[in-house]
């Protein structure tokens, strides 16, 4: 990539890495949370629902600060995790964590909607045919919600690519470590003569977003065909 400077390229690569990790690692949790919210009745369900959606409505700076308070090096949980070699402070993993938290509500919403569209009577039918709850989910519900899962992953990925406020508050703006695309654009705009670099990154941002959208569309359509939806 000769038309991108090393710093710009670094930001693009880091953003992709952060976003892919953020959207894929949260996926099992996202499916589980969406299933629990869609199908189970349990005490405190509204509290869980509120917590999941909180990052969507809180100012991102607040989310970032709360992350810093929870996972920062001085914080209890952050210090505890550090003993096991898991560190988020000022590292790309922190950027991924911030992006994951911010994208989580979008992912859960998309998956939850698709689970609610699957008739629970199909799971009952699977149960009468001998499938325990896990297998009923794995063989009936999961294949049927594949388009919703794809949509959720793509949304979370896109959100992660664009996440700025929580990331910069939590893990700052360190080139090569935590400087994602939006942070880099912001940094370039702060220095004289940085507009052209910023513009190139904006172009890449738009291209990645469009690419993700088209990919999700293609995959969803293929999934729908496979499900026999004519």
């Amino acid at each position: 990539m000769t038309w991108l400077g090393p710093e710009e390229w670094q930001a693009v690569a880091l953003s992709l890495k952060v976003s892919i990790w953020a959207s894929l690692v949260t996926l099992p949790f996202g499916i589980f949370t969406a299933y629990a919210l869609a199908r189970w009745q349990f005490p405190g369900k509204q509290v869980v629902n509120g917590l999941v959606h909180l990052p969507l409505i809180l100012p991102p700076v607040v989310t970032g600060y709360l992350l810093l308070l929870t996972f920062g090096p001085q914080a209890g949980l952050g210090g505890f995790l550090q003993q096991f070699g898991i560190s988020f402070a000022f590292r790309w993993t922190g950027a991924a964590l911030a992006a994951a938290i911010m994208g989580f509500p979008l992912m859960v919403r998309a998956i939850r909607l698709s689970i609610e569209a699957v008739d629970p009577k199909l799971e009952q039918a699977a149960a009468t045919l001998g499938a325990n709850p896990f297998w009923a989910f794995a063989t009936v519900t999961l294949p049927l919600i594949l388009p919703g899962i794809l949509a959720g992953v793509i949304l979370a990925f896109a959100k992660a690519m664009g996440e700025f406020g929580a990331t910069i508050t939590f893990v700052s703006n360190i080139p090569g470590q935590t400087q994602t695309l939006p942070s880099a654009i912001y940094a370039f705009l702060q220095v004289p003569g940085g507009e052209s670099a910023a513009l190139r990154l904006v172009g890449i941002s738009v291209a990645v977003a469009m690419g993700a959208l088209i990919l999700s569309e293609v995959l969803a359509r293929r999934a729908a065909r496979r499900l026999g939806g004519l």
Binding site: K121, L122, Q124, A127
Partner: protein
């Protein structure tokens, strides 16, 4: 044998019943809201009742007094739902084999090819459910339940969502299930005609209680337990098809009495269940002459039962079996009918037990 005893408060009444279902097809018969679906879902394990016990061939499925509840996936029951509930993302073949993945090793396996041939779904194997008609879907659902090696088949109004033609298409498969397979079946229905055609034994439910239990002929002959009212009451006779006449009539033999029906689509020699609705029978003290009716049976009055209305139900002993006649009380008095009176039952219409009461075929009217 299936032993059921249940208690569950429902809207406006409490379901509280117990019954035993012998081998063969036991029809849970009753109007809507009688509690039929509650019973079958408790047996299946889809809904936990307040209290009760269900055991199948000695194997306890639940006994809430002892806190015992086997989850549905370990009960080994094949459930045929009202809507077929096929898995839309799987082909017909994959749907059929779904239960086999989970059947315990060593379970008696129904042969896929045999079931597919029996249900006539060989040409559909590679299709997805979305490309099937309502009747085809229900046939696949039947096959899917059978192939899971169940100890008991449950069917919850499996024909209710189908139109008349589709009912006619599916019913024979249930008859074959009853006659060719050893698996007992609990079949929920509100249709007297399905009872007539399928039932080995009938459990009549009303407001959550067992109102009556008996074989199909006994229950269908009792207008007091008909959920659809007196119009559905009638006699159920066994008859053998003798021959087809060139004028389009088929002759049946019921206990030495000849019955004439329009073209019956069966081969001579077949044993059939024939329904005669009580409201299609009129009585005469003398052998009627100059009457267009073809089927006239010599009879002896067994019993006359009347309620508060103008009608009376006369049960008659004939060589063909017990026949019921619904006449007015005024006529019963005018004819001086009483127990033991000799008379003639003029049958306006005889029907092969069909999928619906309304489908009775008039012979001559």
């Amino acid at each position: 044998m299936l032993e059921v005893s249940l208690r569950q408060p429902l809207d406006g009444f409490t379901l509280d019943l117990s019954f035993e279902a012998p081998a063969g097809v036991t029809v849970l018969f009753g109007g809507s809201g009688a509690g039929k679906t509650t019973v079958i879902n408790a047996v299946a394990g889809l809904k936990r009742p307040e209290s009760g016990r269900v055991a199948l061939n000695g194997r306890v499925l639940f006994d809430l007094g002892k806190g015992l509840w086997v989850p549905p996936h370990r009960r080994r029951l094949g459930y045929i739902f009202q809507e077929a509930r096929l898995f839309p993302h799987l082909t017909v073949r994959q749907n059929l084999l779904f239960g086999r993945w989970f059947a315990p090793r060593g379970a008696v396996r129904e042969d896929l090819d045999r079931i597919v041939a029996m249900l006539g779904i060989g040409a559909l194997m590679q299709r997805h459910p979305v490309a099937l008609s309502g009747g085809e879907k229900q046939r696949v659902a039947i096959g899917r339940a059978l192939l899971s090696s169940p100890d008991l088949i449950l069917a919850d109004e499996p024909l209710a969502a189908l139109d008349e033609a589709r009912k006619e298409e599916i019913l024979p498969y249930f008859e074959r299930l009853r006659d060719e397979l050893k698996v007992p079946m609990l079949y929920v229905s509100h249709s007297a005609a399905e009872v007539a055609r399928l039932a080995t034994s009938v459990v009549v439910l009303k407001d959550g209680q067992v109102q009556r239990q008996g074989n199909a002929a006994e229950v269908l002959g009792d207008d007091r337990v008909m959920p659809t009212g007196v119009r559905a009451a009638g006699a159920l006779l066994e008859a053998r098809l003798l021959r087809h006449h060139p004028d389009g009539l088929s002759e049946l033999d019921a206990g030495g009495v000849s019955l004439f029906l329009p073209q019956v689509q069966q081969v001579p020699g077949s044993l059939l269940r024939v329904r005669i609705l009580a409201q299609d029978v009129i009585l005469s003290r003398h052998r009627p002459e100059g009457l267009s009716a073809l089927n006239i049976l010599p009879a002896e009055v067994e019993q006359i039962r009347s309620g508060s209305g103008p009608g009376a139900m006369v049960s008659l002993k004939t060589d063909a079996g017990r026949v019921l006649a619904r006449i007015t009380r005024r006529s019963a008095q005018a004819l001086e009918l009483s127990s033991g009176t000799q008379c003639y039952a003029v049958v306006k219409s005889v029907a092969i037990a069909r999928s619906d009461v309304g489908g009775a075929v008039p012979v001559d009217d």
